[in-house]
Symmetry: C2
Subunit: 255 residues, 2 copies
Amino acid sequence: MEYTVQKLGKLAGISTRTLRYYHQIGLLVPSRINSSGYRIYSQAEVDQLQQILFYKQLGVSLDAIKRIITDPSFNSTHALYDHREKLLTKREELDKMISTVNKTLDNREGRTTMTDKEKFEGLKQKMIDENEKEFGKEIRKTYGDAQVDKSNQKMKGMTQEQFERAEKLGEEVLVTLSEAFETKDPSSDLARKTADLHRQWISLYWNSYTKEAHAGVAQLYVDDERFTAFYDKDQPGKAAFLRDAIHIYTDMVDN
Amino acid sequence: MEYTVQKLGKLAGISTRTLRYYHQIGLLVPSRINSSGYRIYSQAEVDQLQQILFYKQLGVSLDAIKRIITDPSFNSTHALYDHREKLLTKREELDKMISTVNKTLDNREGRTTMTDKEKFEGLKQKMIDENEKEFGKEIRKTYGDAQVDKSNQKMKGMTQEQFERAEKLGEEVLVTLSEAFETKDPSSDLARKTADLHRQWISLYWNSYTKEAHAGVAQLYVDDERFTAFYDKDQPGKAAFLRDAIHIYTDMVDN
DNA sequence: AATACACCTTTACGTAACGTAAAGGTAAAG
DNA sequence: CTTTACCTTTACGTTACGTAAAGGTGTATT
């Protein structure tokens, strides 16, 4: 089988420009050029291209890939060891950046919104106070002061728009929960939707979402009678249903 | 105080080329140009440069930095949230690459020196099996199958070198824990070191470290008697001590 | 055969953030 | 007055292509 640039490009899922570029740098040379100047690739090039794309997926530079696949005396395993070192270094740098960003955001959250909309500020403070009075102690016990303070700080740092969105989401969770509860199946689509809405909702208050913490909070809804009372208000069993739905959800989602 | 390019460059630890480039793109404009055409910077520019370098350190693009520091109506906190998302996405991509490289290298090692490493391969599989038998059910219940499978997969994906490092770290945790335990103070330096070593250790098995999950595992050491038995083997109270140390640690560490 | 249309070619600029010459003025010190 | 250190602008190189632009080729339809 022989391929022109477009045929091969479609086969491999890359652009024709890419193939011309690979030819230009000598990474993938067509088996021949036909009388009209067209690049013609055959099976050997298809195989080589697969190799190239594999290494590319690992983040290896085209220059390094060229050395790996064209020079048979080149130790590709050693090259991959080297490459891994580079990747690990990069990840450390990234981790540092992420940590610094987190720190910066933490510091800012407390001070951003000054005395602009007092009413709004008052409302938020009121919500924090009530939250604290009702559930603060239990959550603090389970997740530590730092987490709770951060959540409160974040609430204070929210813009009015974000705040309204959060309140709306919170209501949506309750409405969808009621609908889902009627299915009696915590793995139903509606239940999954509820769990997903709930994730969105807490994500607005948390600095970093993790499945584990989400699942932990879900459990708390059953373990702490005040939470249970809140969710079971209309129909008993809703708190447990929500917990089950969230646990199924966090077990399904891959990250 | 006034500075020429070289003076300011030395002060900030950057090249003169960089300063000229920042001028060119309008990111840092000198306060004035003297009669000979020299760029002259004063205090205001020094301050702005510090800001620029801070954001640069977070991996923010110069274009984004420019918007952040020149447009006062720009919400820099929101920009940082966005930026953090990008960083997290990048880290996921990196993790995938690293995992694939590890897998590839593992496969190659197997092919090239198959019989040589058989013992080692067997050892890893044995560890996974034992782990599963002993703690699998409890951990699966708490953290879900996905997390446990990932951890096992990661163990299989480890190279011999990494594997040895992991085992050594595991021992270090135990040794340091014993020393720290004698201080009777879970906030002592030694206790903090123990928690940090423990973090490093589990990070080798987890795809992504989070404070919450770390704290959760620490709690498990106390809640699950099999874990407790393991850590309390020599001196009762060590499991609880480790949990306390880790909780103090996760509350302190910013990310 | 003429035309339309899909496909091919090469050339070349743009991207991010500078490093590195090259060619040529300027300031201060000897 | 010369050396030396410092300044300037212009411009090419870096990575892996995307995106025109200008023009030739292959095939099907009119």
